[in-house]
């Protein structure tokens, strides 16, 4: 019986037959081609620096993905399939497209503004437009890859952060190599190290991941069934996008120059993304508490289970009360209960939509006395 119910539930977070999935693959392939053309010759000319860049990139990937999945989404991490798709889009598709687009637009600003003004302002007028557009496109595509990936502002925020993070580590990689050229090829290892140090330790806290998280939260709000009007959702999404572009403009502009400004700007961006995170998290948890109470009332959760379900630590503590096969069975029940409540986060779903999940939870419960 349990197996029948489990088979009826949608299990894949990513629909590999969707148009959006193949769009993401195609644009990422184009990004790989662009990045390869730009980076491989420099990697071959400076192999030691390239090795340092690769090592730092992998270390950042491990730490950043762990942090984003552990902290950025309330209750539980996004599925791994969505995580890798977001990173792929940010690191390959968005970064590769941005290389092409930025080269074109920077040259336009040089011609329109003149060299003196463009030396100060071209980056601030280029990156917020091109880079925020290509990054946020990834969150929209993720929402179209499957109806299950992006269903709340919290989903949009975490996927935006992951897309931005993928972009950030690949961009750091390219800057680590470009710095060698700007340094005349002298002391290439030290130049790469210095560049990475500045971009990761000093400014990394308020860079691409923060900007994209804000824009992504807006897309999450736009596509989610939050019970709000379409007009309100559109305005919130546009507002978040403009805020992300503003953060990027501040980051790249000569406003707040000098060392103090270089340190202050990432901190300002970090404060903005944390403010958005607090609002998104509070709304998500409020909705979670609401559906949790409703499911407790209909018997899908006990009060004890409802209390333990919303936090990673309390879920682990709850399971520790069981031993051996009982713990395995309880973990299965817990996973289904989590899926049931996640399913109910969007509002306006028909009353019967969650029924298969409730039935799966009921079927998975160990029968008393056996």
């Amino acid at each position: 019986m349990s197996a029948v119910h489990a088979a009826a539930l949608p299990r894949r977070a990513v629909d590999f037959r969707s148009v959006a999935f193949w769009c993401m693959i195609a644009v990422s392939a184009f990004g790989v081609w662009t990045l390869k053309r730009n980076m491989v010759p420099a990697m071959l000319a400076f192999p030691a620096s390239a090795a340092l860049n690769v090592a730092v990139m992998l270390a950042c990937l491990a730490v950043g993905v762990w942090l984003a999945r552990r902290v950025m989404r309330p209750v539980q991490a996004p599925p791994w399939s969505g995580t890798w798709l977001a990173l792929m889009w940010g690191g390959l598709a968005a970064c590769g497209l941005a290389v092409v687009m930025n080269t074109r637009l920077l040259s336009v600003w040089s011609q329109v503004l003149g060299l003196e003004a463009s030396a100060s302002w071209a980056a601030a007028l280029t990156a917020p437009l091109n880079e925020e557009a290509v990054k946020v496109a990834g969150v929209v595509l993720l929402a179209a890859v499957s109806t299950r990936l992006v269903r709340s502002a919290a989903d949009g925020l975490v996927y935006g952060a992951l897309v931005g993070f993928g972009f950030q580590i690949v961009e750091n990689f390219t800057y680590g190599l470009n710095g060698i050229v700007l340094g005349g090829g002298v002391e290439p290892f030290a130049v790469s190290f210095q560049t990475l140090w500045i971009r990761i330790v000093l400014t990394g806290i308020g860079s691409h991941w923060a900007m994209s998280a804000v824009a992504g939260a807006g897309i999450g709000y736009l596509v989610s069934a939050s019970g709000r009007s379409a007009a309100r959702r559109v305005w919130v999404a546009v507002g978040c996008m403009l805020l992300a572009m503003g953060m990027h403009f501040l980051f790249d502009s000569p406003i707040l120059g000098g060392i103090a400004g270089t340190l202050a700007k990432p901190l300002i961006n970090f404060a903005v993304v944390m403010a958005v995170y607090v609002v998104v998290r509070r709304r998500f948890r409020a909705r979670w508490a609401e559906v949790s109470a409703e499911e407790t009332a209909v018997g899908a959760l006990t009060e004890d289970e409802a209390r333990s379900l919303s936090r990673r630590g309390s879920r682990r503590r709850h399971l520790r009360a069981f031993k051996g096969p009982d713990r395995t069975a309880q973990a299965h029940v817990q996973a289904l209960q989590l899926a049931l409540l996640e399913e109910r986060i969007p509002r306006r779903l028909p009353a019967g939509a969650a029924r298969p999940w409730r039935e799966a939870v009921a079927a998975a419960r160990p029968v008393s006395g056996t």
């Binding site: 969707s18 148009v19 769009c23 195609a26 644009v27 053309r37 491989v40 010759p41 420099a42 071959l44 000319a45 400076f46 497209l97 092409v100 687009m101 074109r104 637009l105 040259s107 336009v108 040089s110 011609q111 329109v112 003149g114 060299l115 463009s118 030396a119 071209a122 091109n130 557009a133 290509v134 496109a137 929209v140 929402a143 179209a144 109806t147 990936l149 992006v150 269903r151 050229v181 700007l182 340094g183 005349g184 090829g185 002298v186 002391e187 030290a190 130049v191 190290f193 210095q194 736009l222 596509v223 989610s224 069934a225 379409a230 399913e343 986060i345 969007p346 306006r348 779903l349 939509a353």
Partner: protein, 203 residues
């Protein structure tokens, strides 16, 4: 209007087909528009004879051009370097800063430039750099130059260190074999005019 149905996500049904296509289409359109804008605008600005071009983060390097030179705005960034054209001859001037560690003399700067040129070689370009020869200009002493070939273009590469050794101008003159001799001479005159701002004099 219930635009969510059973999905809980507004991108469902037919939208899952046209939304991704529209997103990718919009990105391609933005890329194309930016490319077309660049092509529609004039790439080079004509410079009056005697114009002094200043570049570097603090505009600390200057070079003077003769008659008929143009500044390639699309290929120039005053923070790092400029590209100048006359006829078939191109002069590229780059300021390099040795922030991560001062090189041990101008020869190390030359070797660094040679290694950077290998990037073009690995990208499939035919690049050849000759042995360096010492030279001085009116403003800079202890510089090096050597023959350079990039693809079908020939010319000369230069490394001109600042007095404190913390930065240098790396220059390249390139053009086809049959470029006008007068243009070559004027390009060399630009190299001779390169100067670092004298901080002591300013103070």
């Amino acid at each position: 209007m219930d635009d969510f149905k059973r999905a809980g996500n507004a991108v469902h049904g037919a939208r899952r087909v046209w939304v991704p296509l529209a997103v990718v289409g919009a990105l391609l359109a933005l890329t194309a528009v930016e490319g077309l804008l660049g092509r529609a605008l004039p790439e080079a600005e004509a410079l009056a004879p005697g114009t002094v071009v200043e570049f570097g983060a603090d505009r600390q390097v200057s070079a003077q051009v003769g008659e008929g030179w143009t500044l390639d705005e699309a290929a120039s960034d005053l923070n790092t370097g400029v590209t100048l054209h006359k006829g078939d001859v191109t002069v590229r001037l780059d300021l390099v800063s040795f922030d991560a560690g001062k090189p041990d003399g101008v020869r190390e700067m030359w070797d660094g430039m040679a290694q950077v040129l290998k990037i073009e070689q690995y990208a499939g370009e035919d690049v050849w750099l000759g042995d360096p020869i010492a030279f001085d200009t009116k403003w800079i002493s202890g510089a090096l130059y050597g023959n350079l070939q990039v693809g079908t273009d020939i010319g000369t590469a230069f490394v001109m260190p600042a007095e404190d050794g913390g930065q240098a101008v790396e220059a390249k003159i390139l053009g086809p074999f049959d470029a006008d001799q007068g243009d070559w001479a004027e390009a060399t005159a630009i190299i001779d005019s390169v100067d670092f701002e004298d901080e002591e004099a300013d103070a």
